[in-house]
């Protein structure tokens, strides 16, 4: 293979993939070997299939697999369909722009905090039942209902979908302008077609191709999530990802080989599902053409609009309520059923957290800022290279490998963190800040790429040419024109990367070797206890930093472009 390195940018995609995939590959090797019985540290030095037979014969395996498939596929499908309904029923509208403005605070809520908030709303002793109890005297004790953590996984599906819809919406919002969705809708309407017709037959087919990767990330997340599944999922058995985590944490060290086989199974399962989704695309496309030719689009009343309203309401209600409850718990001294509000309030927990948090706070800030900055630099480098190739008349071949960057999002963390850690120890890098930053970047870069690539590719290059022809300086046209016009999406991508870094738990604890405490490691530690008040305070801290950064990402461009009307809105 000939690699043209005529331009310094040419190497960036290769370098990026090399740097950010190394941990994944090293990690996977370190996981797949134990899955085949190779784990010399505990005296297993002969390849065998025993871990696999132990996995398949484990009493909880079939049930866990069923739960994983039902909840994972269910949540991803529910999120995708809900997002589609929101778009059909409400894009563009006042409701939608309101939803759009709420996305930042919604996305900055930590997963676990949201799940805990949901649980406190829905459990039989939760807020909703307490409100009912105000009206009924038959609810003096929590009723024996099964409204959360149900054995079928419904509460897990709903919680996951609610967490994923905002992410999918954000991804769609970045892409819709490039598809000229607004204009397509006008055109379809003027030809006498409904909005539904325009979306289903004209916009979605193109949109899906663009959000395929984010959707796969959602799929992978739903199938491999641990923290939310522990809070909202079924327990007998739990989902496969939770079981795998248990095996990796089992006191019987040989169980780690079963965990490794489980992680490998989960990865293969995920690959199969994604391959299946890809294979289905063609038949579905043919089905679409068939339906279009036969005019089978149907003429049901426009139920998408009320549906979109309902979904927006449910979404905003649960997020607002989860946030409110977290806030109240943080200020509570004692709060029992059936009190709608705490019987006593106190600032003790907030005060206590302040004495504990100064070190973790700085470490978190430094890590998140550096990883978001580095990620932006790398991603912009890759995307600029793409622009260069486009106008150099070359095929954008090198760029294709960037798809590999998404690999870390598609692989369960627990499946490669352990192997990566072993390798880091071997080269003497474990417990260093650089290694920790590296491990964060593995997850931050793909999300930044996901958020930034759409708007960046959509940039109208004529601005750059004009600037170039006026100044004659490439750097000038890049720094003073392109980056400024793209300021909003870049800051948004920064905020996303920042939030992703803050959320990292396993890499921080393993790669950091316990040397670095962050808000998240402290929050997770306290979440293993029983004190909801302190858990709430920690969740608020965890949420505060991304919220500030998301707010800045919104406010800075608004201020910078306050005199420029065309720049005041990036999304039509």
């Amino acid at each position: 293979m000939t690699l043209r390195l005529s331009h310094p940018l040419a190497i960036i995609p290769w370098l990026t993939v090399a740097i950010f995939l190394t941990p994944v590959i090293l990690g996977l090797v370190g996981t797949w070997l134990p899955a085949f019985g190779w784990f010399p540290a505990i005296g297993l030095d002969r390849l065998s299939l025993a871990p696999w037979s132990n996995l398949f014969s484990h009493p909880s395996f079939p049930g866990a697999l069923r739960h994983t498939l039902v909840t994972g596929l269910g949540a991803a499908a529910l999120a995708l369909v809900s997002t589609a309904l929101l778009l059909i029923g409400a894009y563009p509208s006042a409701l939608f722009s309101w939803l759009e403005k709420s996305l930042a605070p919604i996305l900055s809520i930590p997963h676990a905090a949201f799940a805990i908030g949901m649980s406190f709303l829905l459990v039989p002793s939760g807020w909703l039942v307490r409100l009912l109890a105000l009206m009924s005297d038959r609810l003096d004790r929590p009723p024996l209902w099964s409204t959360f953590q149900d054995p079928h996984g419904i509460s897990l599906i709903v919680t996951l979908a609610l967490k994923e819809i905002p992410f999918l919406l954000l991804m769609c919002l970045a892409i819709l302008p490039t598809l000229k969705a607004q204009q397509t809708l006008w055109l379809a309407n003027s030809l006498g077609h409904s909005n539904r017709f325009a979306w289903l037959w004209l916009i979605f087919p193109q949109l899906y191709r663009q959000i395929r990767l984010p959707f796969f990330a959602v799929l992978a997340y739903s199938l491999t999530v641990v923290d939310i599944a522990v809070i909202a999922g079924p327990t007998t058995p739990a989902t496969l990802a939770v079981l795998i985590t248990q095996w990796f944490n089992d006191p019987d060290l040989s169980q780690r080989t079963v965990g490794a086989a489980g992680a490998a199974t989960l990865l293969m399962l995920l690959s199969l599902i994604m391959a299946g989704a890809l294979l289905l695309e063609n038949p579905l496309r043919r089905l679409r053409s068939h339906c279009l030719e036969r005019r089978l689009s149907g003429h049901w009343p426009a139920w998408e609009k009320p549906m979109a309203r309902l979904i927006s309401f449910v979404l905003l209600f649960f997020y607002a309520a989860a946030l409110l409850i977290t806030l109240i718990w943080g200020l509570a001294a004692q709060w029992r059923y059936p009190d709608v509000l705490p019987s006593r309030f106190s600032l003790d927990k907030v005060a206590h957290s302040l004495t504990q948090l100064s070190d973790p706070l700085w470490c978190t800030l430094l890590l998140a800022t550096l990883s978001a900055l580095l990620a932006i630099t790398v991603v912009v480098g890759c995307l600029e290279n793409e622009v260069r190739l486009k106008y150099g008349g070359q095929k954008v071949r090198g760029q294709k490998i960037l798809v590999l960057l998404y690999l870390p999002l598609l692989i369960p963390q627990i499946a490669f963190i352990f192997g990566f850690q072993v390798w880091l120890i071997r080269v003497g890098l474990d417990g260093t800040f650089v290694a920790l930053l590296w491990s964060h970047l593995v997850f931050v870069v793909p999300y930044v790429f996901l958020t930034l690539s759409g708007p960046y590719r959509q940039f109208d290059d004529r601005f750059s040419w004009l600037a170039l022809s006026l100044t004659g300086r490439r750097a000038h046209s890049f720094w003073r024109i392109k980056l400024i016009i793209l300021l909003r999406p870049i800051l948004y991508a920064f905020a996303t990367g920042f939030a992703v870094s803050i959320a990292q738990y396993l890499p921080t604890i393993f790669v950091g070797a316990g040397r670095f405490a962050t808000l998240t490691t402290e929050a997770v530690a306290l979440a293993s206890g029983s004190d909801r008040r302190l858990m709430a305070v920690m969740a608020l801290w965890q949420q505060l930093l991304p919220l500030i950064v998301f707010a800045l990402a919104t406010l800075i461009p608004a201020y910078r472009f306050r005199h420029r009307r065309a720049m005041s809105q990036t999304v039509s």
Binding site: T235, R256, Q421
Partner: protein
């Protein structure tokens, strides 16, 4: 770990002469410890325990110049860290200096040569430990401790009930079943293999079989199905009467404490006899909560701290472990307004002043007396755990 074995052999042979050489050794250890930073990996889920560890760290800084960093970790993560280092061949300079460890993890670390070696015989305060009357300080989870870990506190399975809803606490397995029949949905226990769940099931098994001697020998020697038949019969009857009809379980005792506060359940369990008093004192639970144990006694054991094989600062870790066993630290730990964790020390071995620090402690409204807590059941042999867990999962978690 081969290179460590001679050391351990040496340490064991020296055990008998320890009183002679101990003092000199201790001087060496504390001299070397000066200036070391000990990374203490300990569960960080309770702010009171965290604060206590912070206090203890400040005290050893004052007395010995040892810095303690509390890594708020969960035990399996610390074990995983050590295991990764073993896998990478890192024989010295490990990231973990001291681990707060449970019996299962200890047994497995010991079996896989992941521990530093015998050290408690060199610690002056170890001599104050009540090894005579608290046999679990010598056998952790039925595994011989062999001076590989330092006793830190005593644990015993206790039940907590809400006296607002429960007039008479059930004090046996059978009475608990009757309670569940009269109050469906108001009791649960954590799903196995969570530690508290396993302990509860072992407790029921001990009670129903009236502590069948076979439980205290390797499970391979016993007729497992015959001995556990009554257990499964009992659980089959209990589960439909439990919280969420036994279809959903909690993941551990902390979550059960929340359910108790919420009123979803009326009986919960804990492994710390002072837990309820402590939780009432800090507002985690209402003051209507009381503690009880079953008439036949309940399973009890000891929790420990240990040093991994490749610790960077083993001397510092020993100095800290020694301080944690000191009368000063143990008395403070037993105070329910600080932590409320029973001491491992023998009162008879203490000076009058030291003893007074313990007798002066406030009792707490929900604490049982020492007499009430006197009946301690031994853990079944460690090999029973895996068999019980496997059978439980086959029956109830498919």
């Amino acid at each position: 770990m081969i290179q460590r074995t001679p050391f351990r052999l040496l340490a064991t042979t020296l055990l008998s002469t320890v009183t002679l050489v101990g003092a000199a050794d201790w001087q060496d250890i504390s001299n070397q410890a000066k200036g070391q930073t000990v990374y203490f990996h300990a569960w960080g889920g309770d702010e009171h325990i965290n604060s206590y560890i912070q206090w203890a760290g400040e005290r050893v800084q004052e007395d010995y110049g040892v810095t303690v960093k509390h890594v708020k970790n969960v035990a399996p993560n610390a074990v995983n860290q050590v295991l990764s280092e073993k896998a990478a061949g890192k024989q010295t300079g490990g990231a973990v200096d001291l681990i707060w460890i449970n019996g299962e993890n200890f047994a497995n670390m010991k079996a896989n040569d992941l521990l530093y070696g015998a050290f408690t015989q060199d610690l002056p305060n170890y001599r104050l430990v009540d090894t005579e009357h608290k046999p679990t300080t010598l056998f952790d989870f039925t595994t011989p401790v062999d001076n590989l870990e330092a006793p830190w506190g005593m644990a015993q399975l206790v039940f907590m009930y809400d006296s607002q809803y429960v007039a008479q606490a059930p004090t046996s397995a059978q009475e608990l079943l009757t309670f569940a029949q009269n109050n469906p949905g108001r009791f649960t226990y954590p799903a196995l293999p969570a530690f508290h769940g396993t302990t509860f099931v072992k407790q029921i098994l001990s009670e129903l079989t009236e502590q069948n001697p076979a439980l205290y020998a390797p499970v391979a020697l016993a007729d497992f199905d015959a001995i556990t038949a009554s257990l499964w019969q009992y659980l089959d009857a209990l589960h439909p009467l439990m919280w969420q009809e036994g279809k959903t379980f909690t993941d551990g005792a902390p979550r059960m404490k929340q359910l108790l506060n919420d009123g979803e359940i009326a009986i919960s369990l804990s492994f710390n006899p002072f837990d309820a008093s402590n939780a009432i004192a800090n507002g985690d639970l209402p003051d209507t909560i009381r503690t009880y144990i079953h008439r036949s006694g309940t399973i009890g054991n000891t929790h420990f701290v240990t040093i991994p094989y490749n610790a960077s600062n083993p001397q510092g870790a020993m100095v800290f472990a020694n301080f944690l066993m000191s009368p000063e630290a143990q008395a403070r730990k037993a105070n329910t307004t600080v932590w409320g964790d029973p001491t491992v020390l023998a009162m008879a071995k203490l000076s009058n002043a030291q003893r007074k620090a313990f007798t002066d402690l406030p009792m707490g409204v929900a604490t049982l007396s020492n007499e009430q807590l006197a009946k301690v059941l031994l853990e079944p042999h460690a090999s029973w755990v895996a068999a019980i867990e496997q059978a439980w999962l086959s029956r109830y978690s498919q």
